[in-house]
């Protein structure tokens, strides 16, 4: 009987491995970055995995060896030392191994934390494009202040150009995430946060909200298209000429809870983003939120 259980367990395990390896590597989008921020984060993930593996692989092997070697069985030869409970040399050793690894890891982390601070501009010859992102119930609104167009649940930008996303929320907080370009940042009402991302090659990238904000949260996914400069400009012109305008009334409708399909708008009211950010600031107040709001205005 026992043998069959073992075979069953092995079969199960092998099936699992087969299923996991059956998923092509392209599907691991976090490990398949298409921009400089995502690249650095992938490097960092690999460095930290290796550093951790330096400790845990020997520990796993040691565990197996010790459990096997010291199991109680008739006629075993391994030593039994019931009173052995302290050894300064050994204890100093395994206090120092994790300390050394953590010191190295901490150094790497601090370096990358400053390097990849989301609001730090990406070095590039091209001037960044600003896209203002608002998370709503339950849709994403993108506004292009330079082009004066707006979109819902869809964003397009040129390749090889830094994109300066300004994030806020008109409702509960969310988290703006395009995994292949780089890590996420919260969108929060009353604040305008900056996240720089860039796509090095053309393609359609998956984007989503990563922080739960209610009922139809799962429908807040969107496509982020990176295209050539010409294609981008043509698209902007097309939107400008064919799409309706985003008036204040239309905006009010968008704030009604509910998911949405992709929508395009040829213009939007001036200062809409600033209005969203500062809507809770009372006249004459100079609180923390007012400060964040001002940061959004340049």
């Amino acid at each position: 009987m026992r043998r069959y259980y073992r075979m069953l367990a092995t079969a199960l395990f092998l099936t699992m491995v087969a299923v996991i390896s059956g998923c092509s590597s392209e599907q691991y989008i976090v490990l398949d970055p298409k921009g400089p921020i995502g690249e650095s984060q992938k490097d960092l993930i690999i460095i930290t995995t290796l550093l951790c593996a330096i400790i845990i692989v020997p520990v796993l092997i040691l565990t197996a060896v010790i459990v096997w070697r010291y199991r109680d069985r008739p006629g075993r030869k391994a030593k039994y030392a019931p009173e052995w409970e302290h050894n300064t040399k050994l204890e100093v050793t395994w206090w120092s191994i994790p300390i050394v690894i953590i010191v190295i890891l901490a150094g790497v982390t601090v370096y990358y934390t400053y390097k990849l601070e989301p609001s730090k501009p990406i070095a590039s010859e091209k001037a960044p494009i600003t896209i203002q992102v608002t998370s709503m119930d339950w849709k994403w609104l993108f506004k292009y202040p330079g082009e004066n167009i707006a979109t819902v649940n869809y964003v397009k930008f040129p390749e090889d150009t830094p994109i300066r996303f300004q994030l806020t929320s008109d409702t509960a907080m969310n988290s703006f995430w395009i995994p292949q370009l780089g890590g996420q940042l919260y969108s929060m009402s009353g604040m305008a946060m900056t996240l720089y991302l860039q796509a090095d090659e053309q393609g359609t990238y998956y984007g989503s909200g990563a922080n739960f904000n209610g009922m139809d949260f799962a429908q807040m996914t969107f496509d982020a298209d990176a295209v050539s400069q010409e294609e981008y400009e043509a698209w902007v012109q097309e939107v400008k000429s064919s799409a309706p305008a985003l008036t204040m009334n239309v905006y009010e409708e968008l704030t009604e809870p509910g998911p949405s399909n992709v929508q395009l708008f040829s213009s939007f009211p001036e200062g809409l983003f600033e209005h969203i950010v500062t809507q809770y600031v009372e006249e004459g107040s100079s609180g923390a939120h007012a400060h964040h709001g001002q940061a959004a205005e340049h």
């Binding site: 259980y5 400053y114 890590g183 739960f212």
Partner: protein, 662 residues
């Protein structure tokens, strides 16, 4: 009139879903069955005098454990429902609102109403026995703590069929959990359920700190305490500092919802981020609160089943205490993506990594306790050994998550979900199961069936890896937590199906455990020696189950692993140390014990009534409930007959009966 009643009922009772209807029917049937059984066997009085009013720490511990196993069932069913939905989202097994409610209750129940009471159950049963005490420091408060937890948990649970469950996530971030984001009563059930049980938890923390510091047997120095007792001390100190934060935070949220305050809403000058900071200042220490006692359990078990002293005792103590200290400096790692800037993120990334050092040391110490030992593998030891690789891998992914810029990619993804389930199941649940198996003979006086236990063990372990390893991969594929549906193009479905299969294997494992308990009760294998595993600490020196007063004579402690040393001296035929012999042969004295009291039950029930009133904003009910609370307090302050002495004759009779068996 009839329409009014119908309107009210349709708002009051949750209807319209077959799952909920099923739950209502089964709750109704269970209640009828319980009432019928108690009445038929005339057990109402027994239930009241022996259990509901008991201040005996062992009975309170057993009640905690029963409650937590029921909650494990409920939380587990929640998990399976979610996994069914995620394996085949196109079937729309659960609608979005229902799914949101279920992941919220799954989280709350597993952490607060399953892990916490299972932990308190073990505290209650083991700590006084391990330190040679006759009870906890404040037995009445102990009973009150249990009933506050129990009625808090019940208040939270009734939301499922009455009024609707909370659905704003297990930590209920505002503004989503505010009045505008969650207008229904679910969020009020959340606030009051957790608030009432949280006060019970805080009281337990204080109770055990005092018990451990003040009630140790004569001779037991702090540095001779069993490691489990040390872990309870570190956990309870953490509770004392963390739980007040939770109480205040939830109270402020209550003021926001009930009185229209604006602590956590931007309009009116509040700030939702303040809530997130506060809730994690409690929430992060909370995960260490539940894991530290598991570390203590593993230490006891490893040394018992290696037949060897625990290696590096002082290191272990230092590691426990430093973990509970550092746990208060890591909360911001839950929102690296909040944009607090590189300085803050770097600080909290490093403080989070620091925790890995003492934790790593503990793993080495367990390994070197086994090194040169004589290992045997009954179920408690199996769980302990399975814990090591599981926790080491989970710890490693935890360190990976603590690297702030990498966390921008992991945050809120299934990578995170896999990580914390690996440390919470592989650490906490495995640990408490190990403890439950280990101390089961001490609690009930009979052994559990080993064969069924091993089945459960393997199913849990295989199920665990099948369920959660794919979730790491899903995280790297960009799948976000709390999605109830996803686009098929993402290629997430195969792994989700595998994960669901694993979840059901764990469910099957749970059934094996229930079967194991039922089978063991039926074919009762009495444990007569009192020392089921050839143990090392004081709890094994008394009969199983322990008599009401625990120790007929308080033991004189002279060393760590005192009971083991004593057995060794006896085996070598040495004479007892003079002070020990004197304590052993001292004449029996009447034993001072606390009297049972119905007040904790009544007072906690009154809190339940008041909480229910607050949820529905029924002022009369609030008044009735709070009046009950105040009357209970008055009744307690005017009751003078709160203790009694067990006469020597009765102690002699009990001891003879318990020891005569072998």
């Amino acid at each position: 009139m009839w329409d009014k009643i119908k309107d009210f009922a349709s708002e009051f009772f949750v209807t319209g879903d077959p799952l909920i209807l099923g739950a209502q029917v089964s709750i109704g049937l269970t209640l009828i069955a319980i009432i019928f059984t108690l009445t038929y066997f005339k057990k109402w009085r027994w239930l009241w005098t022996e259990w509901l009013t008991s201040v005996d720490h062992k009975k309170i511990g057993i009640m905690y454990i029963i409650a937590s196993i029921l909650m494990l069932f409920r939380g587990g069913v929640d998990a399976l429902l979610m996994r069914v939905q995620l394996a085949a989202p196109e079937l729309e097994f659960l609608h979005a609102d229902h799914y949101n409610a279920i992941f919220t209750t799954h989280g709350v129940i597993m952490i607060l109403f399953m892990a916490m009471p299972l932990m308190f159950g073990l505290f209650n049963i083991v700590v006084p026995l391990q330190i040679g005490a006759r009870d906890v420091a404040f037995p009445f408060l102990n009973s009150l703590s249990f009933w506050m937890f129990f009625f808090g948990a019940m208040l939270f649970n009734v939301s499922f069929i009455i009024g609707g469950s909370p659905d704003a996530g297990w930590l209920a971030y505002p503004p989503l959990s505010g009045l505008l984001g969650s207008p229904g009563v679910g969020q009020d059930f959340y606030i009051w359920g957790i608030q009432i049980s949280g006060i019970g938890s805080l009281a337990t923390g204080i109770n055990f700190v005092v018990t451990i510091l003040k009630m140790r047997a004569p001779g037991m120095k702090l540095m001779q305490m069993p490691m489990f007792t040390w872990s309870v001390l570190s956990s309870c100190v953490t509770i004392m500092f963390a739980f007040p934060i939770l109480t205040v935070t939830l109270f402020l949220l209550f003021l926001d919802r009930y009185l229209g305050a604006h602590f956590f809403t931007l309009d009116g000058g509040g700030n939702p981020m303040m809530y997130i900071n506060l809730i994690w200042m409690w929430g992060h220490p909370e995960v260490y609160i539940v894991i530290l006692p598991a570390f203590g359990i593993f230490s006891e078990i490893v040394s018992t089943f290696s037949k060897k002293r625990l290696f590096g005792y002082k290191s272990m103590v230092f590691a426990l205490m430093s973990i509970s200290f550092f746990s208060f400096f890591t909360w911001a790692h839950h929102f690296f993506t909040m944009g607090s800037g590189a300085n803050v993120n770097a600080f909290f990334a490093v403080t989070t990594m620091l925790i890995a050092i003492p934790t790593g040391v503990k793993v080495f110490n367990w390994l070197f306790t086994m090194y040169r030992g004589k290992l045997s593998f009954p179920t408690p030891m199996l769980w302990t050994i399975a814990f090591i690789p599981c926790f080491v891998v989970g710890g490693m992914t935890g360190v990976m998550l603590s690297v702030a810029p990498a966390d921008f990619q992991f945050h809120n993804s299934y990578f995170l979900i896999a990580h914390f389930h690996q440390v919470l199941i592989g650490g906490v649940v495995f640990g408490y199961f190990a403890g439950l198996y280990y101390w089961w003979p001490k609690m009930f006086g009979f052994r559990l069936h080993e064969g069924l236990g091993k089945w459960a063990f393997w199913l849990w372990n295989i199920g665990f890896y099948v369920c959660f390893m794919p979730q790491y991969a899903l995280g790297l594929m960009g799948m976000t937590r709390r999605f109830n549906e996803y686009n098929f193009d993402m290629g997430w479905q195969p792994l989700n199906v595998v994960s669901t299969v694993g979840a059901f294997l764990m469910g099957l494992a749970f059934i094996f455990q229930v079967w194991q308990i039922a089978h063991s009760i039926k074919f009762l294998k009495k444990e007569t020696s009192g020392d089921a595993w050839d143990g090392r600490t004081l709890e094994w020196s008394i009969p199983s189950p322990a008599p009401l007063y625990n120790f007929a004579r308080l033991p004189q402690v002279t060393s760590q692993d005192d009971w083991w040393e004593k057995k060794q001296r006896r085996a070598r035929g040495e004479a007892e140390l003079p002070e020990v012999a004197a304590a052993d042969q001292a004449p029996l004295e009447p034993i001072h014990m606390p009297r049972n009291s119905g007040i904790p039950f009544i007072m906690s029930f009154s809190w339940f009534v008041a909480g229910f009133g607050f949820v529905w904003d029924w002022k009369w009910m609030i008044v009735v409930g709070l009046a009950g609370v105040i009357i209970s307090m008055l009744a307690r302050s005017f009751s003078y007959d709160t203790d009694y002495y067990i006469p020597v004759d009765e102690v002699k009779r009990t001891e003879a009966a318990a020891r005569g068996a072998h």
